[in-house]
């Protein structure tokens, strides 16, 4: 019998140790490579185990079959998945889709979907951005038009994570008043054209969705037009924090494995880990990883208690942690020397994932601009 990973009085570090123990066995580099070469790029076997262990339901209230923990614990799972380069729909299904239901789902929506997310049965996703994967509201390339008791959706969605696996996708669409609606659609519906958008990072899958006058019942909406944009913004923050968590986990692992590699690598009669120039650069990597860790922790905590500073904390965690991951992954590859350039070593997988994380859901310029607007007030003339 499998025991759920989390018990009530486990602290974050115990939780982390328990998760890492599982992933060190079940998400080895060999396994990651098998999964990433499959078209779905989703480790269904691991996902089932994660569900069984209660990871998928960790932040879902007990009444919906979850453990009732907070985003902080969920963040630990995300960090560890990032650390092991796991390919799965976890972020799409649990964080984005599950998070949306928790933030704004009606009771009937929660009741029908949350238990299935918790038990790993429902894979779903959310499409929050617009053309070219941009995040500002003006970029939304899907429009929604109320038509009696129905809604008509037209346009396209790009870079929708794990959409090809999903039963449901929550899509952000521009309403007739320039407002925003979040609507549940079935991506497998024949009126929706779905095509893969493969990326350099082989551990991730995205799709483009195109629809023309796709009609869904009005009940498919999450929230309403009045709070749609605010909700979309919260979900972008949530997704940003998830990416920051993934990045932090990945950066920590790159640092560890780079140092381990260096210790075992001899050149000029000594371990290359004894070379001062490299040691100093490793300290810089570590400082960025440490600072990412506290930044992500702060964002998780602020978001989970809906604190006033959550939007700033989310954006800061996103750009700081993602930028740091790119830095650490670049350095890690360089310090591996020749083998770092091979497909066989994982260096490139981390670097590609780092670059993708940085680009997804608002790049670093976008999040810095957002922080500046929130902290300094908008620039009066730009």
């Amino acid at each position: 019998m499998i025991h759920r990973t989390r018990t009530v009085d486990m602290d974050s570090e115990e939780l982390r140790a328990a998760i890492r123990d599982v992933l060190d066995r079940e998400a080895t580099s060999e396994r990651i490579r098998v999964v990433m070469d499959e078209s779905k790029g989703h480790d269904a076997k691991l996902y089932a185990l994660m569900a069984e262990l209660g990871w998928t339901g960790l932040a879902i209230p007990e009444q919906y079959g979850g453990s009732g923990a907070t985003l902080i614990e969920l963040g630990v799972v995300l960090q560890e998945l990032g650390r092991s380069l796991v390919s799965s729909s976890f972020e799409a299904s649990v964080v984005l889709f599950g998070g949306a239901l928790l933030l704004a789902g009606r009771e009937d929506q929660r009741a029908s979907f949350l238990p299935r997310i918790a038990n790993g049965d429902l894979l779903a996703s959310a499409a929050l951005g617009g053309a070219s994967g941009r995040c500002e509201v003006g970029s939304l390339a899907l429009t929604v038009e109320p038509r009696g008791a129905s809604l008509s959706l037209s346009g396209k969605l790009e870079y929708v994570p794990s959409a090809d696996l999903s039963e449901l996708v929550l899509v952000a669409a521009r309403g007739p008043q320039g407002d925003t609606a979040l609507v549940l659609v079935d991506p497998r519906h024949e009126a929706i054209e779905i095509s893969p958008q493969p990326v350099f990072d082989p551990t991730r899958r995205f799709s483009r969705l195109v629809m023309h006058d796709h009609v869904v019942p009005r009940e498919s909406m999450l929230g309403d037009f009045s709070n749609g944009e605010a909700l979309r913004e919260r979900l972008i923050e949530l997704g940003a924090i998830a990416l920051a968590s993934d990045s932090m986990g990945g950066a920590g692992k790159v640092l560890e494995s780079t140092i381990a590699f260096m210790k075992g690598r001899e050149q000029f009669g000594r371990s290359i880990a004894s070379f001062q120039a490299l040691k100093h650069r490793c300290v810089d990597m570590m400082m960025r990883a440490e600072a990412s860790a506290v930044s992500v922790e702060m964002a998780l905590e602020a978001f989970s208690r809906e604190a006033e500073e959550a939007p700033v904390a989310a954006s800061e965690a996103k750009f700081y942690s993602c930028d740091s991951y790119v830095h650490v992954a670049k350095e890690g590859l360089q310090m591996h020397g020749g083998v770092g350039f091979t497909w066989e070593y994982d260096c490139h997988l981390y670097l590609k994932r780092a670059l993708l994380n940085q680009a997804l859901l608002g790049d670093s310029r976008w999040h810095r601009d957002r922080v500046a607007d929130l902290v300094l007030g908008p620039a009066t003339a730009l």
Binding site: I259, M262, K263, R270, S271, A273, S274, F275, Q276, K279, H280, C282, V283, M286, M287, E290, A291, V294, S295, E297, M298, V312, A313, E316, F319, Y320, R365, H367, R368, D369, V371, A372, V375, L376, A379, T380, A381, L382
Partner: protein, 400 residues
């Protein structure tokens, strides 16, 4: 942020109130460009003020202060002092931290009774005699000799970077008692009375043209045996074990000051014309840089909180304080350099300096130059990186 501090809201309010009443509103204006004597006098007055409020040495035990603060309360005091932009007690830094730490850990009861009240009640100033001209970061290679002759040690040698030694009544001195022993094995620790014949102090002029550091020249200086701390040749071990104590809250104040300084930088950006003539704060590039500093300053405080939380819960600081010192000092340097550059020709103008200033005074070019005290002294950042890579990351030492 630190859960344990939430219960101290009442205490915090008291400290804040005390600061509101006692931190002189005009001290920055008054002390800017002040003479050495004026600064010294101001430090003494401020020490007395803090002592009356029971806030001069919150880390000291109640035996000496009559107050018994918890570690959590110490954190609150440091936070509130920073928030109130209170003057630093930098003239008494060695006295309050190093001398106290040393005597409590390795001193005799008689030494404590002689020196601790003198520091707190009469503002006795101490200095450090550790560094030498040819032993900068490589402290263990120091050459100052102390030879036992009967009841005294006769000391000859030269020390450097001894802060405020020209004002100091006593000095914490490391000297070599066994030249035959391996580098760090033959060193002993002494308390030196600065009025002993043969002690000469020469101030060093620093890059801001201030005189805070000194050279000490010691010629046949006699130190009574009872002023040795611990056993002969045990000085290195004692110095190392006492150096690391009491460091944890020391970074809190500069970190809090950096949060205050952030808004000074924002003000600078509001009042400085940017590249196109409009205020710099409307420049997208500047705004992104300001967002970056906002995040990094938040991270600094979070790193410190993490360390303090661990100390509250588990006791004892690990190598975190080295990491934080590195992070802080480089952030401070980049931050102040950025401000000096952002302000354009205006910040190039020479301005009178402020004694006992926060590490960011708003005289940006000076603040930037001054930031090198953090990256160079007490072990350069290069040495810190060596230490962290070996002790934290477990990387091997370089071959000798």
């Amino acid at each position: 942020m630190i859960a344990e501090l939430e219960a101290l809201a009442g205490f915090r309010a008291d400290v804040r109130e005390w600061c509101r009443e006692h931190v002189p509103a005009d001290w920055v204006a008054r002390m800017t460009g002040a003479s050495v004597d004026e600064s010294l006098e101001f430090q003494r007055v401020w020490l007395a003020e803090l002592r009356e409020g029971g806030l001069a040495a919150p880390h000291w035990s109640s035996e000496w202060t009559g107050r018994d603060y918890s570690f959590e309360e110490e954190i609150v005091i440091a936070e509130e002092m920073a928030r109130a932009r209170a003057p630093r007690l930098d003239t008494f830094f060695v006295s309050l931290y190093h001398t106290y730490g040393l005597l409590m850990e390795a001193g005799t009861e008689a030494q404590r009774r002689r020196h601790l009240p003198a520091i707190l009640d009469h503002g006795e100033i101490w200095c450090q005699g550790f560094s030498e001209p040819n032993a900068g970061s490589d402290l263990a290679s120091l050459r100052t000799r102390a030879q036992r002759r009967g009841d005294v040690y006769v000391v000859n040698g030269q020390k450097v970077w001894s802060t405020y030694a020209m004002h100091a009544r006593f000095c914490l001195l490391l000297a070599r008692t066994d030249p035959a022993a391996r580098k760090n094995r033959g060193i002993s620790y002494f308390l030196l009375d600065m009025r002993t014949p043969g002690v000469e102090v020469r101030p060093i002029v620093d890059l801001g043209r201030r005189q805070e550091f000194c050279e000490l020249f010691l010629v046949d200086v006699e130190i009574p045996v009872e002023n040795r701390i611990g056993e002969e040749n045990e000085g290195w071990r004692i110095a190392n074990s006492t150096l690391s104590t009491e460091r944890s809250t020391l970074l809190l104040m500069p970190a809090e000051q950096l949060r205050v300084a952030y808004w000074m930088l924002v003000d600078l950006a509001r009042t400085t014309p940017g590249s196109g003539g409009r205020p710099a704060i409307e420049d997208v590039g500047v705004r992104r840089d300001l967002a970056g500093f906002h995040a990094e300053i938040a991270n600094l405080r979070l790193l410190i909180n993490r360390m303090l939380t661990q100390m509250i819960r588990a006791g004892g600081a690990g190598p975190e304080s080295s990491i934080i010192k590195l992070y802080y000092s480089e952030l401070l340097q980049r931050f102040t350099c950025y401000a000096a550059q952002l302000g354009g020709m205006k910040t190039q103008e020479l301005a009178p300096l402020l004694g006992a200033a926060p590490y960011v005074s708003g005289v940006w070019e000076f603040d930037f130059l001054n930031s090198y005290t953090w990256t160079i002294s007490a072990g350069t950042n290069e040495i810190q990186r060596n230490i962290i890579s070996e002790r934290v990351l477990g990387m091997p030492r370089e071959p000798k």
